[in-house]
Amino acid sequence: MRRPLNILLLLFGALLAGCGANSYMVKEVPYAAPSPPGPNQTLVYVFREDSFQGGGRKFAIVDNDTVMAVLTPGTFSYFVVPSGEHEIVALMTPTPIMHYRVTAAPGKTVYLFCKMGYASGTFIEPIDESQAKSLLGQYRYTEIGVKGEKVKDFRAYYDKLYR
């Protein structure tokens, strides 16, 4: 094979590997409803819009500085955090592309929807329980095998952005 063709194939392979990288060992598993949050906890659900835009890229859901989930189009996950302020970020490595500041909600469940469409926008918005319940039946649940990985402190980053 000629050298330029080799290089092209290598580059293409690297691109494919990048798109399909599964460094957090994300997998789709059957959804089981979690226990309600404790009095000093908040249960956070995050859904990712089922859209074509950016569909080849997973994004990590980060709580302040910790990876909590990984989502692909049309999937969701959940996690429990101590009640307080949490910067929830969608991180399409290496770039955070959207964020939402969860404020203190002790004993409550917060539902967040990551919009990711050419026309629908690229931002996280809170949705109500009835909308979330409807999505639970349509979207697929994901879990990650590598939990608690630390990344940049996005809470400090977005605080600075809005100061």
């Binding site: 955070p96 026309a119 629908s120 977005y158 809005y162």
Partner: protein, 193 residues
């Protein structure tokens, strides 16, 4: 006409017309935290169903536009600003619902009017680099008369290196500034204590 030519014309028409990208103008609510002293009163705010559903389209960059729901997306900020000042805040279903207003012992009803504009100095990226929010807010007393009215403004700017992490950044900065200014006006208003 050749199909390729037709496609090219269609594509260039779309490019010329541009499109509207959805953004969200709700500022992060933690940016509206306030240490103001609370007034022990229940107040309400009124946003009509038509205003809540109202979508506004203003210019973005590169010939594109941005669209958003100024009233619906400002509601959490308005609620936050009023909650910083008063012990209880409720959404009023109708200004004519005297029974609801009386039974909830509502002292004032705040009614906002919101105007927005945006622009961009970029030819290559669509998110606005400048955004403005003009917020005219009046308070109606129990007798149904306007007891207070103020107009505040907020301006927001964002560069590419900033808005690549939040396409709505200029809008949210403007919205935040407008509601911070509204908070100051409400806190300073002797007639609203």
């Amino acid at each position: 006409m050749h199909p390729l030519v037709k496609s090219a014309i269609a594509a260039s028409t779309l490019l010329a017309v541009g499109c509207a990208h959805q953004i969200n103008i709700t500022p992060p609510l933690n940016t509206l935290d306030s240490n103001t002293a609370k007034v022990d009163k229940t107040v309400g705010y009124y946003i009509s169903a038509a205003d809540r559903a109202k979508e506004v389209i203003t210019p973005g960059g590169g010939g594109d536009k941005v669209k958003y729901l100024p009233y619906q997306e400002s509601e959490p900020a308005l609620n936050k600003v009023l909650s910083n000042r008063y012990t209880k805040v409720v959404s009023i279903p109708s200004l004519d619902d005297k029974q609801f207003i009386a039974s909830n012992k509502i002292s004032y009803i705040f009614v906002p009017t919101i105007e927005t504009d945006s622009s961009s100095d970029s030819a290559f990226t669509w998110p606005p680099t400048k955004f403005s929010v003009s917020l005219d807010c009046k308070a109606i007393g129990p007798a149904g008369t306007t007891v207070w009215e103020k107009k505040v403004k907020g301006e927001g700017q964002a560069t590419f290196s900033e808005f690549k992490h939040d396409f709505s950044l200029a809008a949210r900065r403007a919205s935040k500034a407008a509601f911070v200014n509204l908070q100051q006006e409400i806190d300073a208003a002797g007639e609203l204590r």
